[in-house]
Point group: C2
Chain length 106, copies 2
């Protein structure tokens, strides 16, 4: 019902160690080029590129060409959507517990 309906791709995009690390780095150090992201990772530049595109597809990140390098940065909105979704689930859960308690106590 209160299902944002598009959260699954975001979670899927976050469901990979390398991608989660990319998010972390982009978050902590700000926008970065692909080669800089590749340095400090144990996979190929193309792997990084693919991950970035996956996350871009999910709306987590966006990149722009600056001269001869393409710089990527976080896009916070979908991240907050995901957070909101988890909050909804938690709240729903609490309500269910409350109802159950009331039902048992009566």
């Amino acid at each position: 019902m209160a299902e944002p309906k598009g959260s699954a791709p975001v979670f899927a995009a976050l469901g990979d160690e390398n991608r989660l690390r990319l998010v972390s780095r982009l978050c902590a150090a700000g926008p970065m080029s692909i080669t800089r992201l590749t340095a400090g990772s144990n996979v190929t530049r193309q792997a990084i590129t693919k991950h970035l595109h996956v996350m871009e597809e999910a709306g987590l990140v966006r990149g722009a060409r600056h001269g001869r390098e393409s710089v990527w940065q976080l896009d916070r909105r979908r991240l907050q959507d995901a957070r909101h979704h988890l909050d909804l689930i938690s709240k729903q859960w609490d309500d269910a517990l409350a109802r159950l308690r009331k039902f048992v106590e009566d």
Copy 2:
């Protein structure tokens, strides 16, 4: 650094429409048997079973045998871990923005 290091599997487990729906239903209607979960879904019972096991592996859900049926319910902890992880990222992001602003203004 502040990397919980085990969040990726949780996000991966949430990164599927069917699984997200299962979470929603278990959350809203409480513990349920596999067949009841299968009814109201457009996939096979075995598919549901597999999804449940994936989520169990991620710590999102747990099941117990009751008589001849196995009843599954949410486990909230990992869900909150994931929420916390997203919060951390958001906070880190805010800090980065603040630092950037300060740097630009000076």
